[in-house]
């Protein structure tokens, strides 16, 4: 479990990092917190010729609230965002979800941007960013572009980033007053990747039920999945009666997990139903507070 040979670059400016990626193309891999990439290197499952270490780039570590929106530098540590009081006030869904990521030691090194760019199909952060309608800022040789989270996650460990593009910032819009939220995860052990996790946001709106619902599930396929049928159930019927249960069942029906060594597909569907139901109820209780 030692990596094969690679060249190591350690730029201190974002532009230099992007230039290195442009120069080496697909042979280069950016190194953020290293909590996924380093094991892949040690197992010799990833064999990049060049590692571009982003850890010395001071400009990518910010966590700020600007005009109501949250701006997170791609290299901000998960632990820093978890502990940020502004995040906890405005986006408690994000704070809570981060506490489910692995263990404190890993969150001390792991970065928000690293997790999003890696896009493990059972990771928490892509699901949460999709639920929060976050926007990703990418910098490439052609300059900066913004990618909505709905277009950013492109499949198992795939994103909209080109090989020579770097994720630099995540922008999370302000949530309306009274938004209810919940994050529910089932994992075998504290800190494991989710068997299934569900993020629910209930925004007050002018719909028939007064709710604009966002339901995102992860762990069931090739990345975070918006459960539009479940969202429609909640928008139409609210959260009273058996609406949450119906939303859970709709989400389970829309999910398409596969059998794997940790769980058969039918079991993950049961989890989607149960966790979605519980998350909807919890989010409903938090609405308007």
């Amino acid at each position: 479990m030692k990596p094969p040979p690679f060249a190591y670059e350690c730029p201190t400016e974002v532009a230099d990092a992007v230039a290195l990626l442009a120069a080496h193309g697909a042979d280069a891999r950016p190194l953020a917190g290293g909590q996924s990439l380093v094991p892949l290197l040690n197992f010799r499952l990833a064999r990049p010729a060049v590692l571009v270490d982003l850890n010395r780039i001071a400009a990518l570590g910010h966590v700020t609230v600007e005009n109501g929106a949250l701006r997170i530098g791609a290299m901000a540590r998960q632990a820093a965002v978890e502990a940020d009081p502004g995040v906890a006030r405005g986006w408690p869904l994000l704070t809570d979800a981060i506490s489910h990521i692995a263990h404190p030691q890993i969150r001390n090194r792991g970065t928000i941007g690293g997790s999003l760019a890696h896009n493990d199909p059972a990771a928490e952060l892509p699901a949460v960013m999709l639920a929060l309608d976050a926007e990703m800022t990418a910098l490439g040789p052609e300059g900066t572009r913004t990618v909505p989270s709905g277009e950013f996650f492109a499949g198992t460990m795939e994103t909209a980033l080109a090989p020579d593009e770097l994720l630099t910032e995540i922008r999370v819009p302000e949530l309306p007053e009274g938004t209810g939220w919940s994050f529910r995860e089932a994992a075998r052990r504290q800190g494991d990747f989710a068997l299934v996790a569900v993020a629910v946001l209930l925004r007050p709106s002018g719909s028939s039920s007064g709710i604009d619902a966002r339901v995102v599930v992860t762990g069931t396929g090739d990345g975070p999945q918006r459960m539009r049928e479940a969202e429609a159930v909640l928008a139409e019927r609210g959260t009273g009666g058996d609406a949450c249960e119906a939303a859970g069942n709709a989400a389970a029906q829309a999910s398409e997990p596969a059998d794997d060594p940790h769980a058969p597909a039918w079991y993950r569907q049961r989890l989607v139903a149960a966790l979605t139901r519980r998350a909807c109820r919890e989010a409903a209780m938090r609405m308007g507070r």
Partner: protein, 774 residues
């Protein structure tokens, strides 16, 4: 005065070094000019090959050697068979490097030696082997069938061993039964996974023709014999040292793993020190596994719950080789009647070769399996008869007034399993009380109305400990007054140095700080077997007591000469011998040791020094016992389980150090819970391992293990002078059955019946939904 130390919670003398990073594990050994090795392992479960092309690897700068089976010569002779079994049909042991045929994914094929481990692994990528894959026998039941692909081509079947152990009149038992339970029960494959993986460092001193090997082995003295034999060297020219070792649990006693021959071979060949450290992936595929058995059991019972007889036929997965003998199957078989008076027990096992890593003991060595079978069957008989799970146990227990009660079973080390020195009914009563068993049962109807599914499970264990063969300990008083204690069996974290110091210091009336303990170095003490089977306190502790008593007698004799007073008028206190009633007439142990120096006193034929060695064998072992109880709550929507309460009542006889006893119980129980709910090794149909990381092999962490409440019952063992019974494995043995019983009880409204562990949440949801188990 003489201070009592046996029984005191003395602080572990090992901890200061271990907790401040000053311990020296294998990977902390750095020698000048040292090279690093990596092992090329088979990617196929079964394949033949004729050619290993290492030319590209050898051309890589920094690569010093690629060693294959052809280079080893007689060093590649098959490893010894450690344990005979009367039922052996095809005993087969492994070789250091596969000679043209591989039998599991992970089997060693070549050794690369290079300037660094990085380079050695680069070289592994460059070695070409012309494997021709063949069909593999992977599934245990399928491998046992006629016509299955053969693991060893020179056999006619994969059944390595078929052995019956029959006690009592089974026909009459079943003829008299009101009810017969028939069931298939399956404890799954797991592995110990000690925190430190294996490792070997070897240095050959050409000027002295001496080989020194640092090895994570649990048996350095025994390993020295095998390694010397394989390398064609005198035992006198080989030293094996087990330094600080980070956990063993059985997986580090094998005699020997390939690397224990290969690394010294390479060091001698290259005349450079060589280090090999097993990485975690290698440990998953290159070190031994445990647990998988399939038991088909029949239990004959009367309608009032008396168990009349057990018939058990089981398959035991031996993996690719069987050098340890089918010890796990023997132990499972011996333990079947548990603490119960069961008049007839007939059991036959078939140990079966499969194209998977070799199986050898892991904490409990088959006893967790046998225990799961019996205790789960007890639950199922109780359920069928409408009896409470505690009540059926109470009705069948061996009672103190029955003892000694010969179960008729023969345990590992040819030890008769005779119950004595314990009170099983009292253990049960204490466990039920601590668990609030009645309270849990009383609350169930109302809780179930509210959708809360809480249940209680209990499981007994009896454990064969302190088995043969022997261990030895030498105690020597220095002229400095320090007491030097040496033994051959090493520690992997058990705190032997603390407990041995307690025994010796109390016997010699010195402060424990005066006692220096050394273990696990074949050059310091060259007799002994190893650390396994919960035997160190019983066997090694008794030897230490014997040696210390002999030293005390010699000290009194020497003092008698010195003080010109008869020995019976002398006492040993506070590190000195003095005349009874006249403490001023004293001579210290150090002064006596000086007086015993051969310069001063030796006459021909006499022994020098104030020293003695003692060797102890416990032909009847020592049976430890206890009850585990768990209260769990099952989330019936997700199959997740929370363990609310976990109680251990146990009797390991006299406790030399209660803190160390509690540590053993906590660790063992945690591993038992792992086997009950989390840990499972899986292979695909071709024998490819699917679980080779801690992301997939779910060892419970401190977050998953509940607070465990321990109750000691201390019944002195009458079979050894310390009065101790072993405690190393008891924690691990009944945990699966207790957990499974609690889950079954919680899910009683669903008619859930547990037949396999580990239970994972999908399996639990399947029980709830009545699905065919996945």
């Amino acid at each position: 005065m003489t201070t009592q130390l046996i029984g005191e919670p003395v602080e572990r003398r090992e901890d200061a070094r271990l907790l401040t990073g000053r311990a020296r594990f294998i990977d902390d050994i750095h020698l000048p000019e040292m090279l690093h090795a990596a092992v090329l392992r088979s990617p196929h479960a079964k394949a033949r090959f004729t050619r290993i092309d290492a030319s590209a690897a050898l051309a890589l700068p920094g690569v010093h050697a690629v060693i294959t089976h052809e280079d080893l010569g007689s060093a590649n002779a098959p490893m010894p068979l450690l344990n005979e079994d009367p039922g052996f049909i095809y005993p087969r042991t492994h070789q250091a490097l596969a000679p043209g045929q591989v039998r599991f994914v992970g089997e060693a094929v070549a050794l690369v030696v290079a300037d660094s481990r990085y380079l050695a692994e680069d070289a592994l990528d460059l070695i070409e082997v012309d494997y021709v894959p063949e069909p593999a026998a992977v599934d245990l039941a399928a491998a046992a069938q006629p016509g299955a692909p053969l693991v060893h081509d020179d056999t006619e079947s994969n059944v390595a061993c078929r052995t019956a152990d029959n006690t009592g009149d089974i026909e009459s038992a079943f003829a008299a039964a009101d009810f017969v339970l028939r069931e298939e029960l399956r404890p799954e494959r797991g592995a110990a996974q000690p925190m430190e993986t294996r490792g070997v460092v070897a240095r050959y001193d050409a000027s002295l023709e001496q080989l020194t090997i640092w090895d994570t082995t649990q048996a350095p003295v025994s390993a020295r014999g095998v390694i010397a034999d394989k390398l064609g060297m005198a035992e006198a020219a080989v030293t094996v040292i087990a330094p600080d070792v980070g956990g063993g649990f059985g997986v580090k006693i094998y005699l020997v793993y390939p690397e224990e021959v290969l690394v010294p071979f390479a060091a001698r060949m290259l005349d450079r020190p060589v280090k090999w450290i097993e990485d975690r992936r290698e440990h998953f595929i290159g070190s031994n596994h445990e647990r998988l058995m399939v038991h088909r059991i029949e239990v004959a019972a009367t309608k009032d719950g008396r168990i009349l007889g057990i018939k058990d036929h089981f398959l035991y997965d031996s993996g690719a080789y069987c050098p340890y003998g089918p010890i796990n199957a023997q132990c499972a078989q011996a333990i079947l009647p548990g603490p119960y008076k069961i008049p007839a027990v007939h059991s036959t096992y078939e140990a079966v070769y499969t194209n998977t890593p070799t199986v050898s003991p892991y904490r409990g060595a088959g006893q967790p399996h046998g225990n799961f079978v019996t205790e789960t069957a007890m639950n199922h008989v109780a359920c069928a008869l409408g009896l409470d799970a505690a009540e059926i146990r109470r009705r069948n227990l061996v009672r103190p007034e029955d003892c000694p009660w010969d179960s008729g079973r023969i345990f590992q080390g040819n030890t008769p399993f005779i119950h004595r020195d314990s009170d099983y009914p009292a253990q049960l009563a204490k466990a039920l009380d601590a668990l609030d068993y009645e309270g849990v049962k009383r609350s169930q109807p109302a809780e179930r109305e509210q959708g809360i599914f809480r249940g209680a499970g209990i499981a007994f264990f009896v454990e064969g400990t302190g088995i043969s063969p022997y261990e030895g300990v030498e105690v020597r008083v220095e002229p400095t007054g320090h007491v030097h204690v040496t033994t051959g069996y090493p520690s992997q974290g058990q705190g032997h140095h603390t407990t041995l110091a307690q025994v010796v210091a109390e016997t010699l009336a010195v402060a424990p700080e005066q006692v220096v303990v050394e273990s696990g170095r074949s050059d310091r003490f060259a007799w002994g077997v190893g650390t396994f089977a919960s035997r160190s306190a019983v066997v090694g502790g008794s030897a230490a007591l014997g040696a210390a008593k002999a030293v005390r007698a010699r000290a009194l004799d020497l003092a008698s000469d010195e003080l010109e007073v008869a020995p019976e008028d002398l006492v040993l206190e506070d590190g000195a011998v003095h005349v009874k009633g006249a403490p001023q007439m004293a001579v210290t142990l150090g002064a006596l040791a000086y007086a015993a120096n051969p310069i001063n006193t030796l006459t021909s034929g006499a022994e020098p020094g104030l020293r003695a060695a003692d060797y102890y064998r416990s032909p009847d072992g020592a049976i430890a016992s206890g009850v585990h109880g768990a209260v769990v709550v099952v989330d019936v929507a997700t199959g997740m389980v929370e363990i609310e309460t976990y109680v251990v009542v146990h009797d390991c006889g006299v406790m030399i150090n209660p803190t160390i006893v509690e540590g053993q119980i906590l660790g063992g129980t945690a591993q038992g819970i792992g086997g009950a709910f989390y840990e499972k090794l899986r292979f695909d149909d071709d024998g490819q391992p699917l679980v080779t990381t801690f992301m997939d092999y779910l060892i419970p962490t401190a977050m998953e293990i509940p607070s465990i409440e321990i109750h000691h019952m201390e019944s002195r063992c009458s079979l050894n002078p310390l009065g101790v019974k072993g405690v190393g494995e008891g924690g691990a043995i009944p945990a699966a059955a207790a957990f499974a019983g609690a889950v079954e009880d919680a899910l009683e409204p669903f008619g859930a019946t547990v037949r396999a562990v580990p239970l994972d949440p999908p399996a639990i949801l399947a029980l709830i939904e009545g699905r065919a188990e996945s």
